[in-house]
Each structure stands twice: as C-alpha cells, then as structure tokens.
Amino acid sequence: MTLHAITVLGHDRPGIIAETTGKLAGLGLNLEDSTMTLLRGHFAMMLICAGEAPGADIEAALAPLSEDGRLTVSVREVPAGTAAAGISGTSWVLTVHGADRPGIVSRIVGELAAVGGNVTDLTTRLAGDLYLLVAEVDLPAGVDAAAVEAALAAAGTELGVGVTLRGAEADDL
C-alpha cells in the first residue's frame, strides 16, 4: 500500500472535488485524509490517498484538471508511518486578533515552537483591517502553560494584538 499526497490549487469553480475524487476512485485509491478551503477565493485542496496505483498513473488521471491552466495539481508519494507521533501533553486553542501587520503569525507561533509546542490546525483570516488567527496547539507534558500564556501575551502586546490561550476541553456526551 502506497500513500500519495495530492494538492489541487487555483481558480475555483463547481465540480473540482467531484472530478478529482472521481478519478482517484477510478484508480482504486482510498481517501485517508483531506482538507479543502477557499483562500482569498482560490480553491485549495490537499489530500492523502492510499492504494496501489503508481504516482505516474495518478498524475495522468488528474491531468485533465489542469488542462486549461487555471488549476495546478501535484502528486507526491509520502512515506508511510510519517504521521506525527501523538505527543502526550495538553491541547489548547489559541486566538489572536488585531490590526493587520506583517509578522504576526511568525512571532506568535515562534513562542509555541520555543517550548516544543506543535500547531495541529491553523486558520488565519483577514476582513478589512481585522486580522484573525485561530490555531489548535499541543503543548508537551511538563510545559508550564501559564508561562507560555505570559510569553504569548507579551508578544501580543508588542504586536498590538489580543492573544488568548484556552484549554481545548472535550465534552464527552
């Protein structure tokens, strides 16, 4: 069983996902994980699929998608077993909002990286002058979350943005 990472990027129109997944199903590939969004109106999809089809066959099957030059498709084999090992620790949701300026993401996530924190999901948005970042973060066991919060708050003050770090508690129903 081989894993392939496939990205489809470019001009949005109805039917891109249907065409892509249809071709993959035709090759007997199974979707293991996928995400799709619009970035400033541009279609952006990433997925991992598993199956026996070689990369060249996947590329050939998806070639019609990029024929008109408005979509870019890439197919890369990824080694199995490279999924990040689940770290034991604590899960958090980080929110940053404020006036847009360069360097907010790098400054904020730098504070997390400094303590071995891992961002597992992140979205940023811009509406008018309001910049918003929401991220899900794992902190390794033993990290002083209050100290991380203080460091993030200091970075926020420096950048002129509000920063909140809250425990991502799950309610089991």
């Binding site: 949701v93 929110t95 999901d121 008018g128």
Partner: protein, 185 residues
C-alpha cells in the same frame, strides 16, 4: 430557576434620561480588547451611558445586547434584551447591569454567535446554558443576582466578556470554528 421580578419589571424609563444613539466601534479597535473599569452605578455619567446603550441597541436590527466597550467606553456596563429572539426561553426583557460577574455557570452548549463589533465573522462558541450573574442596576445601584438560561444566558456571557476585553473570537471552539459572514451580491 426563577425569574427575577425586579429585573423583569425594570425599564430604561427608570433612568430618567434620554438615551442617545452612539456609533458602534468595530474590531480591531483597542477598546474592545481592554479590560473595562469598574463603575459607580449611581454616577450620572453611568446612568447616561446605560440609557445610551439601550437606545443604541434599540435602533440596531437583531441586536440583543450591547456593552460599553462597543460604544468606545472602557467600562463594565452592558444592556441585554433577548425578548424578541427565537432561541430565547425565559427572559427578563430589557435591563442594564453594572460590574456584572458570573457566579455560577453550567451545562455548556456550542452555538453560532455574531457581534456588531465583528460584522464580518460568526463563530461557534461553547457557553453555559444555566447561569447565575451578580451585578448592580444603574441609577439606584441595587444589587441583583439573576438566574438566566438558554439564549439569555449566552447573551449575558457575551456581554460580560466584552466588559473584560474579550470577543467571541477569543472563545472560538477550534481552528475551523470561525466563519466568514456570507454576503451574496
């Protein structure tokens, strides 16, 4: 859970001043991320602010609550009126609270929220559906402890957050819990 009769019968007429409609500020205005100051609920400027908040809420379509930071005043005062909202169960009509704090909160539920100060986004936020809040009435300064549920509880937590310099964005349930408001042209 019982309705607080005094609060339910309160109306802005008690304030004895005419409310002015103020401009609502939008994020990223720093006042929205600033912890509001405690107020003297009997002070004349606080009474006027209370009337202004109610007047501004009244002219804003769909508005169920407004906090002082949203009109540019960094103070712990807000108004609420969820009486016309479909998600409302019990409610106390229109009221204003000063220096309000959450005493008890339980039974969290996730629901989609918006805010006049964040017009471009909505977000999924987990809030208590059973709430006890303590605060003071503007004008008389009477101390009240109110039980609220469902949508009124959500509105109270949203406004109390504003007074603490927090937006619903700060309580996003996850990285994909904030949504752009759809505008179909």
């Amino acid at each position: 859970m019982s309705l607080h009769e005094r609060l339910a019968s309160w109306s802005e007429d008690e304030l004895g001043v005419t409310g002015r409609v103020l401009d609502v500020v939008r994020a990223p205005a720093p006042v929205l991320s600033t912890v509001g100051a405690d107020v003297d609920p009997t002070a004349q400027d606080v009474v006027q602010l209370a009337a202004d908040l109610v007047a501004t809420m009244r002219v804003s379509p769909g508005c169920v609550g407004l906090a002082a930071p949203q009109v540019g005043v960094s103070a712990r005062v807000f108004c609420v009126d969820v009486s016309a909202h479909p998600k409302t169960q019990r409610h106390h009509g229109t009221f204003v609270l000063c220096n309000a704090t959450v005493v008890e909160a339980s039974r969290n539920e996730k629901s989609r929220e918006g805010c006049m100060s964040v017009p471009d986004f909505t977000g999924d936020v987990k809030r208590a559906t059973r709430l006890v809040v303590h605060g003071a009435l503007p004008g008389t300064g009477e101390s009240v402890t109110v039980e609220a549920n469902a949508f009124e509880a959500r509105a109270l937590q949203h406004e109390i957050d504003h007074c603490a310099g927090l937006l619903f964005l700060d309580r996003a349930a996850g990285a994909h819990a904030i949504y752009a408001r759809k505008t179909y042209l």
